[in-house]
Amino acid sequence: MNNEFITELESKGVDVKTALARFMGNVNIYKKFLIKFPDDENFKKIKTAIDAKDKDAAFMAAHTVKGVAANLGLNPISSTVEKIVEIFRGANEYPNDPNIEALYDEAEKNYIEICDIISKYSQ
């Protein structure tokens, strides 16, 4: 994992230092899971579930993305997705919250930017 990769991630607000400490300083395994991140289907599932007004699927997908992103230090994604998780937590019916779309758009913007960096350094 070269310094430019790390610098670019940090410029987007990724907390590489804390995440690496979580992986006990093992750069290879950290990188392995970073590279897998764009392939994970759960982020797309959030959108699919919101479009389908499926509150349970939205909660589960967002919950999973939040956990993975937080572990990897991808804070711009995890902090926004966490707000989506809280909107859906324990909801008995689909929540009538006008912020859902905007939060998703913000998360998606950060998701795309970060995934682009990861893809660039994946080869």
């Binding site: 400490a21 992986f23 006990m24 395994i29 919950h63 956990g67 990897l72």
Partner: protein
């Protein structure tokens, strides 16, 4: 020594991070859902030192695993730590109420997780080893109690034998009386359950029977060893072996805490009493005479009849049976005579075997 950490999480990344943290200190086994976790718990329950458990998983969730551990008594020796991405208090409260040792939220700081888990594992290893130690000590104490019990019995047998050797007999009389006593007690237990004779009581009474003649140690040789019938005056002295016997036992132990002593004292004092009040030393009647003494007295009379004495030849077992049941040797408790009649064959076999 437990040294295996079971990591249960459906996310590969979480399992790998925990493995990175703990692989230096523990052997790591991993499960991807609750069902795999309980299969591993069953297989490695004696090696697992802690379970790191995610909550939301397919097939069976973390609460299902906690439930399984509780039902199988694994939670007392294996600590569980919830590692959850769900930060709601509901999950934490439910986890604690189901006995988890700690709840750690994801994303976590690896150093802190390592320290917390290490502490919990150490605490449980200590607790388990203390419990093992208590079990071991308890076993030792039980063994020692059994040894003391055996020593007591040996001492009593020795005391009984000393008295009998002074009587120039072989020690077989007390042994035979003990076995006749045991046979009669078994018959009473079977036919009159209202006496409440347990195996433990039967054993204690049979062993205490060896003390029945201990008071003879205080009777002078000229009377004790006199060939031929005693004068009335001599017989009065001979009769004191009952009261002397209970005094000797009192001198050794003045409480009834140990049932051997209680029965031994009753037997020594009252084994010459008769049901109609015509026995000695106290002229007790009926059930004033302790049960153990009533039983030993039948066994003692039976053995005296079938044995040779300086003043008489041995009677045959059937003559002895007749003399006891028809009252020639004094009145006995009719219920005990019933039991004696029922056990007649065993008495005769025993008399034949122990001749």
């Amino acid at each position: 020594m437990r040294n295996t950490l079971l990591v249960v999480d459906d996310m590969e990344m979480n399992r790998d991070i925990l493995e990175l943290i703990f692989s230096d200190s523990y052997k790591i086994i991993k499960a991807e859902d609750g069902l795999q976790a309980i299969a591993m718990l069953e297989k490695y329950k004696d090696e697992i030192c802690a379970v790191l458990l995610d909550i939301f998983m397919p097939n069976m969730d973390g609460f299902g695993v906690l439930d399984f551990m509780h039902k199988n008594n694994m939670d007392s020796s294996i600590p569980t730590v919830l590692i959850t991405g769900d930060t709601s208090n509901e999950v934490k409260k439910k986890g604690y109420s189901m006995g988890v040792s700690d709840v750690i939220e994801k994303p976590f700081d690896s150093q802190i997780v390592k320290t917390r888990i290490d502490n919990i594992v150490e605490l449980y290893l200590h607790k388990n080893s203390l419990e093992d130690l208590v079990d071991e000590q308890t076993k030792k104490i039980m063994l020692q109690a059994e040894k003391i019990n055996q020593t007591n019995r040996n001492l009593w047998d020795t005391l009984g034998a000393i008295v009998e050797f002074r009587n120039h007999e072989s020690g077989m009389h007390i042994y035979r009386v003990r076995e006749f006593t045991r046979v009669l007690l078994a018959s009473v237990a079977e036919n009159y359950p209202e006496y409440g004779l347990t195996d433990e009581l039967i054993d204690a009474m049979a062993f205490a029977s060896v003390m029945h003649d201990v008071g003879k140690i205080s009777v002078s040789d000229t009377i004790l060893l006199k060939p031929g019938r005693l004068t009335d005056e001599e017989f009065e002295i001979m009769k004191t072996h009952t009261t002397k016997g209970s005094e000797i036992i009192d001198a050794v132990c003045d409480t009834d805490e140990e049932i051997y002593f209680k029965y031994g004292r009753q037997i020594a004092r009252s084994h010459h009493e008769r049901y109609d009040g015509r026995g000695y030393p106290d002229g007790l009647t009926g059930d004033e005479i302790p049960l153990c003494a009533q039983i030993v007295s039948i066994a003692d009379v039976y053995d005296a009849l079938v044995s040779e004495r300086v003043y008489k030849p041995p009677f045959t077992p059937s003559e002895a049976f007749r003399m006891i049941t028809n009252g020639e040797c004094g009145q006995f408790n009719p219920k005990l005579l019933d039991c004696f009649k029922i056990a007649r064959k065993q008495f005769e076999e025993l008399a034949d075997r122990l001749k």
